[in-house]
Each structure stands twice: as C-alpha cells, then as structure tokens.
C-alpha cells in the first residue's frame, strides 16, 4: 500500500469517527440539517471532482444528473406509489443511462466545448421543466404537470424513518446520508485505483501519449461519466426523499456554482478535497448569512474567483505543500529513491 493510500485510509477513518460522533455532540436539529446538506454537496462535488479533477472531463451538467435522479425518484413515488427504497436505486440506474446519452452527444469533443454543451443541456432541462404547463393529471382541483412544472414535486413518500424513530428521524436520515457519503468516497477511491482510473488519469496528464499507448479517449471518458452519474443520481434521489420535495431550483446556476466552489476550495484532483471544501463553504455560507443573506452569492462568486487565482490546488494542496516543506530533506530524498525503484 503506497504512502498516499495510507494517508487516504487514515483520513477516511478520522472522517468516519467524526461522522459517528457528530449526532452525540450536535445538540440542535438545525446543525444536523446543515451537516446533511453539506454531505449532499460533498457527494455531488466528489463525483464532479472524479470527472474533472481525475479524468479531466469538464462537465457543467452535474446538477442535471443530480436533478434527473431526484426527479426520477420523486416521479416513481408520485405516479406509481413506489417505495423510496426501490425508487432510488432504479432512478440512479436511470441517471447512468441518461448520462450515457449526454456523454454520447458531448464527449466526442474536448475541453471548453464539453463544458458549454453540458451547461446548455442542463439549461434546456431547466427551461423545459419550468415552462411545462400542460396538465398531466388532475390532483383534486389543481392541475399537475408531468414534470411538476415550476413548483416541483412534494409528498411522494419518505424514507420511512419518521414512522420508526418519531422525533429522532433526522438522526436516522443523517446516518443514511453519511453512509451514502462514505460509500461514494470508497467507490471514488476504488475507481481512481482501478485500471480505468489509471487510464483516465493518463489521458488527463498527457492525452497524446495515452492515446498512443492504445487508450481510447472517447470510451474511457464515457465510462467515467457514466460511473460518476450513479452516485450523483443516487444522491439526487436521497435528497428528494430526505426533503420530501424536489424542484427546478437544483438546476439553477448558483447551485452548480456552489458545487464547483466546493471542489475548487477543497482542492481539485484531491480525493478528500470535496469534503474539506463542503465543510469550509457551508461554514462560510452560514457566516455570510449572519452578515446579511443578500451578500451570499456575491461572496460565493468572489471566493471562487479568488480561490482559483490564489490557491489553484485548494486548501488540501496548500496543506500538502506546507507539510512537504516541513519534512527534512533527507526523508524526501529517501522517498524519491524508493519511488524510483
């Protein structure tokens, strides 16, 4: 096991311990709610990080995948009365298929082209949902659109935790979300270490050499895109089930910005970057709310621009370079010799 892997494992165990201890420390339901939100952000950001940080695919359509998972879960519950526990995995698989269609259309291109097309796909999805006014079913006297329209869906079922745990259901939901987060991180780690992971990292670092070694750029990147969609869609479904509502708001540019900001501040291409970024930004968000909620988006935009310019490797990159400077030079040389053999 390499040094980096040991580091990831130790950090993962610390996170596990912190997540397990949190419900006993956090006294208010509000704090727990914010942590749940931060974990949702961290899950989506980690999959964006897998895609951009490790595979170099610059997708701005991540929230479209999240929304697809959320909407599919909500619609299966709403129209077909499916249990959330069945609807969520089905929706996640559906999200993978949806992402493969988007990927087939967009991933033949590279760099900025991919970013623009995926952004346009997300925007079209948003517009089609918001402008949907045709009645699909009548619910009492009110008309309901197939996609839920500008209002979205509510009351399509829940996780069943309310019935079992009564007042403490938030803690149970927290446990489920935390479990999904850890599962996502384990999955991301496994993907990065797999042959596929080596292939897409090679493509990111030197596309010319990678292609010359026989790696197919299109199919490799399509595979990562599909892989990242599963947990993004599952997180969308769990988000809908936890809040018992989903609306077109998740497709807004500011939500996408928040996800990207989390990845940038934490550290693009760092496994635990999204978690660190999510914690920092949710705290910053709370602080900005104290100052005045109006300045929230303004502050967020400035944070993204400043973080990108001043610390492109994020907080984790900053800490890593500081640690590297503190370690004695002889140790560094030994490490170099070891890794060279």
């Amino acid at each position: 096991m390499s040094r980096a892997d040991r580091g990831h494992l130790v950090f993962g165990l610390i996170v596990l311990a912190a997540l397990a201890a949190l419900p006993f420390v956090a006294d208010s339901r509000y704090v727990l709610g914010q942590v749940i939100l931060a974990l949702f952000y961290a899950i989506v950001a980690s999959q964006w990080n897998l895609l951009f940080g490790f595979a170099g695919v610059f997708s701005l359509g991540q929230m479209a995948l999240f929304a697809f998972g959320g909407y599919a879960t909500a619609m299966l519950g709403f129209y077909l009365d499916w249990s959330m526990w069945v609807a969520m995995p089905v929706a996640a698989v559906g999200t993978v298929l949806f992402s493969l269609v988007i990927g087939l259309a967009c991933l033949r291109l590279a760099g900025a082209y991919v970013a623009l097309l995926t952004l346009a796909v997300a925007q079209v999805m948003y517009l089609l949902i918001v402008t949907d006014t045709d009645c699909f079913v009548m619910q009492g006297a009110t008309c309901r659109q197939f996609t839920g329209g500008a209002v979205g869906f509510a009351r399509f079922g829940d996780l069943g935790t309310r019935a079992i745990f009564k007042g403490d259901y938030v803690v149970a939901n927290y446990a489920i979300v935390a479990a999904l987060f850890l599962l996502t991180m384990g999955f991301t780690w496994a993907v990065i270490r797999s042959p596929l992971g080596l292939a897409f990292q090679a493509l990111r670092d030197n596309p010319g050499c990678a292609v010359a070694r026989g790696i197919n750029r299109f199919s490799t990147q399509l595979l990562v895109f599909g892989a990242s969609a599963f947990f993004t869609g599952l997180a969308g479904g769990l988000y809908a089930a936890h809040f018992q509502a989903i609306g077109p708001g998740v497709l807004s540019l500011s939500t996408l910005m928040f996800i990207i900001a989390i990845a940038v501040v934490g550290g693009i291409g760092k496994l635990w970057g999204p978690l660190v970024g999510a914690v920092i930004l949710v705290l910053a968000d709370e602080a900005l709310r104290e100052v005045g909620g109006d300045y929230r988006t303004l502050g967020l935009g400035l944070i993204i621009a400043a973080a990108m310019v001043l610390m492109p490797k994020g907080v984790i990159g900053l800490v890593e370079s500081m640690v590297a400077r503190l370690r004695p030079a002889s140790g560094r040389a030994a490490e170099f010799v070891k890794s060279g053999t």
């Binding site: 951009f52 610059f58 259309a105 967009c106 033949r108 291109l109 760099g111 900025a112 082209y113 970013a115 623009l116 097309l117 952004l119 346009a120 796909v121 925007q123 079209v124 517009l127 089609l128 402008t131 949907d132 030197n206 010319g208 050499c209 540019l253 500011s254 910005m257 990207i260 900001a261 940038v264 109006d294 300045y295 988006t297 303004l298 967020l300 935009g301 400035l302 944070i303 993204i304 621009a305 400043a306 990108m308 310019v309 492109p312």
Partner: protein, 294 residues
C-alpha cells in the same frame, strides 16, 4: 405571409444581437484561448450603465450611449489584470479550464452586485426609438432597424480594426502563434489587455441593444451569452466570420421553431441541431482540427 414577416424581423434582430455577442467571445477565445463566462454579466452591466446615466441622472443620450462602452471596457481590463493574467502566468496548461471556473465566479459576483444595487424588478430602457417602418405589408419597428444597423457598423469597424490597423495585426499575430509574435516584438500582455477591453466594450454595447427591445434585469445577459457560446461552438471556437453566420442562421431557426412549435421548444431544437452538427464535425462547421505537437 402576415406571420412570416414578424418572425423574420424577430429572427434577424436577435441574430444581429447574438452576432454582436459572439464577436466579443470569439475575439477573446481566438487571442487568449479563454472562455469568458463573465461576458453575459458585461452585457447586463452595459445595459444598466446606460440606464443609470440616461434615466436616473438625466444625461443626454450621446453620453449615455458611450457609458456601456467605457464601463464594459474597464471591467474587461480588470478581469484580465486580476484573473486571466495570474492564471495564465501560473499554469498555462490548465488555463483553459481554470479560467472558465474563475470567470464563472466573477460573473456570479457581478450579477449579484447589479441585483443588490438596482433590485430584481425589471426596468425599461429609455434609450430606444419608437414607431414603425412599413414595407410591403410588414411592420418593422425602427428600433429593430437601428439594432441591425449598429451591429453591422460595429462588425465592419471590428473587421477593419483587425485587418488594417497595427494593433489589429498584433492581435491576429498573437492569436496565430503566441511565441512567434512575442519573439517578433509584439507585447503579448498588452495585446491581451486590449482584446479584453475591446470585447468588454462590445459586450456593453450589446447589452444596451438587448435591453432596448426587452427589459433590464440582473439576468439580462445570461440567455444571450449561452446562445452566443453555442453559436461560437457550432462555428468553431475563435472563428469570427463563421460565428456571425451561425448567429444569423441559428437565430432564424430559433425564431421559426418558437413560432411553429411554441416558445419553449426554440432553444431545445437549437441545441439538438448544434449537437448533431458537432457529432458530424467535432471542431465546428468552419473550425480546423488543431494539430498539436506533443
């Protein structure tokens, strides 16, 4: 025929506006390889700058018309100095993607600043012509005629600037080959600054024109920018004449699709066409595949 006329007028007018928006984007992409996501915010600020001077401060219209140009150029220059230059200096290889994220942040901050200063309610742009021109049974508002005329003049001016002036030649040389231009004594940093200022000025003017036929709102520039991006992509990023052609053709298609299928299907159809074109030609209709040495 009665229907065809207005749809045609709307298509050509929006086509002209998209074309103007694509000029600024293409210039910056061509010279720096930078997608300026804050371009839409520059449009918005241009519209509000004219509104502030003309309506709130009562300045005469020639002054108010110049305001978007100046403000847009200034903000464009600041974006270069504070965001693009440091990113380019630090990591030229990852500049293409890093700058998208950074300018995305700038766009969000600028748009929100407009919202905080002016509020979310829409305003009417007072700098606009009234009345109609009647030609062969078709009513054409004078404002639409003015927009197309202004866009044509600006396009001709930009083309002349790029083709004939010393600064324009420096821009084209930098776009063609940065190192070679630098070796021949072109001050690349100053060229980049000029390009972003020029693009910002054009964006400001475009914002004024867009607001004159719609309404001023903090999200004014977002929709034209996304569509202008799409048009640049379909023509091949950085290809100016191609982008202008694509802007007119796609705007007409969008106008007819909106009329025939309903307004909500205009943009989706546009995107479908663009994706089909890109599957057929991944570097855009007129783009040449970039050959890179390893």
């Amino acid at each position: 025929m009665e229907i065809l006329g207005p749809v045609l007028v709307a298509g050509i007018t929006t086509g002209a506006l998209y074309a103007l928006a694509t000029i600024g984007l293409s210039l910056v992409w061509g010279a720096l390889g930078m997608l300026n996501m804050a371009h839409g915010a520059l449009l918005t600020i241009g519209g509000y700058a004219a509104f502030t001077l003309a309506t709130l401060m009562g300045a005469p219209w020639p002054v108010a018309v110049l305001a978007p140009v100046v403000v847009g150029a200034l903000i464009g220059a600041v974006i270069y100095l504070l965001v693009a230059q440091p990113l380019l200096a630090r990591a030229p290889r990852s500049f293409e993607t890093n700058v998208i994220i950074a300018t995305f942040g700038v766009a969000m901050a600028l748009e929100n600043a407009v919202l905080l200063i002016f509020g979310g309610q829409p305003f009417g742009q007072s700098i606009a012509l009234t009345g109609h021109l009647q030609a062969g049974g078709i009513f054409i508002p004078w404002q639409n005629v003015l927009i197309v005329a202004v866009v044509l003049v600006l396009m001709a001016g930009t083309a002349f600037f790029l083709a004939r002036t010393r600064a324009g030649r420096a821009i084209r040389a930098t776009a063609q080959h940065r190192e070679a231009a630098q070796l021949l004594g072109v001050p690349v940093g100053r060229v980049y600054l000029q390009v972003l200022a020029l693009s910002g000025g054009i964006a400001g003017t475009c914002g004024l024109l867009v607001s004159s036929i719609t309404q001023l709102s903090p999200t004014l520039g977002a929709d034209p920018m996304l569509k202008a991006f799409i048009m640049c992509v379909v023509a091949g990023l950085g290809n100016l004449p191609g982008a202008i052609g694509a802007a007119f053709v796609l705007a007409l298609i969008e106008a007819f699709a909106s009329y025939a299928l309903g307004a909500r299907w205009g943009f989706p159809l546009l995107l479908a066409i663009v994706i089909l074109v890109l599957i057929w030609r991944p570097d855009g209709l007129f783009g040449r595949a970039a050959v890179r040495r390893l």
